[in-house]
Amino acid sequence: MHRNGPIALFFHGLVVAFVLAPLVVICLVAFTPENTLSIPTTSFSLRWFAAIFEHPDFVQSFYNSLWLATLAATISILLAIPAALAIDRYDFPGRDALNGLFLSPLIIPHLVLGVAFLRLFALIGATGSFFWLVFTHVIVVTPYVMRLVMAALSGMDRSAEQAATTLGASHWTVFRRITAPMILPGITGGWLLAFINSFDELTMSIFVTSPQTVTLPVRMYMYATESIDPMMAAVSALMIALTAAAMLVLDRAFGLDKILVGQK
């Protein structure tokens, strides 16, 4: 086992502190009793958490985001499974192109996507529709889902499928009874990653949301441009808690390394 030297450990510590410090500060600030962004010194207060619920627009945006992320992740999975199966199992003309197409949203800046969709929706008169918002999120999260499902497929023992076939199972039965359960970790992991990505997507959403469909990150951004008060910190703390909980579930159920690195 290779051990890190003291200098390496020091830098590791520095990096971790650098990444975590803002999150820790935000979470502390969320409990301040003051009216300004400040670290609580005398006492803790839940007043800014309570304040969130006095802003129905925030609550509405939270539900928007929740629905959006759920739908986007689910639709993305339903698209990615057949696509990944086709790319993994069959050799056909345009296979690499299709694979590239599915992964391309990963390398296009969300800013560019946002502007492009804004223009497109203006052209087809779809501005402000929740349906089209879901559509944009499906595009953005699908690469993650594809990666995980493909990793699960390439890591599975194909002979189990052959065994099922020779035992008399049809293609559909093989998929339902053998393939799907065997790649389930990839599917679940992909769904959760997609959900998290969609839930806190801001850059593109700024362009494609309308007052009725404003998502939580966009709502926070708009609020923060006008006024800075500790309620932002409280909302952030809640989102951090939510994300952490999701990651914890993911890790407990399947192991984060396995899902994110795609190792079996």
Binding site: Q162, L167, G168
Partner: protein, 351 residues
Amino acid sequence: MGFLTLQSLSKVFGDFTAVRDVDLSVAKGEFVSLLGPSGCGKTTTLQMIAGLVEPTKGTITLDGRDITREKPSRRGLGIVFQSYALFPHMTVAQNVAFGLEMRKVAKAERDRRVKEILGLVHLAPFAERYPRQLSGGQRQRVAIARALVIEPPVLLLDEPLSNLDAKLREEMQFELRRIQRSVGTTTIMVTHDQAEALSISDRVVVMEQGRMTQIDAPYRLYERPATAFISSFVGKMNRIEAVWRGGRAEAGAVALPGIAESLPEGAPAILTLRPEKILLKPAGQGLLDGRVASRFFLGSYWLFNVETPIGTILVSAPNQGGEPAGEGESVALDWPPDSATVTAPAQGAAA
């Protein structure tokens, strides 16, 4: 016409011919092994029978029915994969029941048959375990049970023992034969392990570079290998270059006895001799004198490399309890004339 027949079966992948004009007829209840080194086409042949690989040419018939183009799911054959291919998310009982479920066998009947077959492979107490909770040998028996429970006309085994350790492999050989005998299923096994093929098969089919070069009972294969390749692949073999003269094989200055089939006088020949047919005697009392160059103790027998004027000869002798000739000692080699075979080199080099 056999129960399962292959007629001029071939498989070509691109410009590589994996299997070339294979003809085989397997009788009902017979246990046949396809033996050969990796890449000889034995697994491709098995996969064609299973329906997992489509033949380029030729036909496969089962009980008089042409199944060459039939889907694997409709052939109803039992297959045990090298990796066992168990369903990791199902218990042992669920794994075994899968084929019956596909056949829409009623629950009660299914449970009864699963229980029965798990009893046969001695896995009854493990029915509710998952494959990952089993040892290699147990998994292998689950795979066999899963393949047999559907009562297939033919059982196909793809290197079924290669993932087991040496001791377990030996035990499972006999276990496999016992199970096959008790259900009487026609069985075809692919293996690269000659000992495995010889010990449990009724007949062994040797494959070399996509062709079947000998189909014989195990002891005949061992005693009368058709090609030089088979003689070296199946067991160990001494090969001595000689000239056939006066009913003996002359190698250097010595004339050695052996059985030859119609060799012309003075023709070059190869004398082949199994190491265990050779007896070690005190120097001067045998056909050929030599010196023990090295000696290995293998438990049930000893292995000697004996240096002689005509080259190094491998000798094996059963362990009789005492200590035999040591390294550096002079010995004589002796053998009954009918245990050595003399053939023409061309025939011997056919492979």
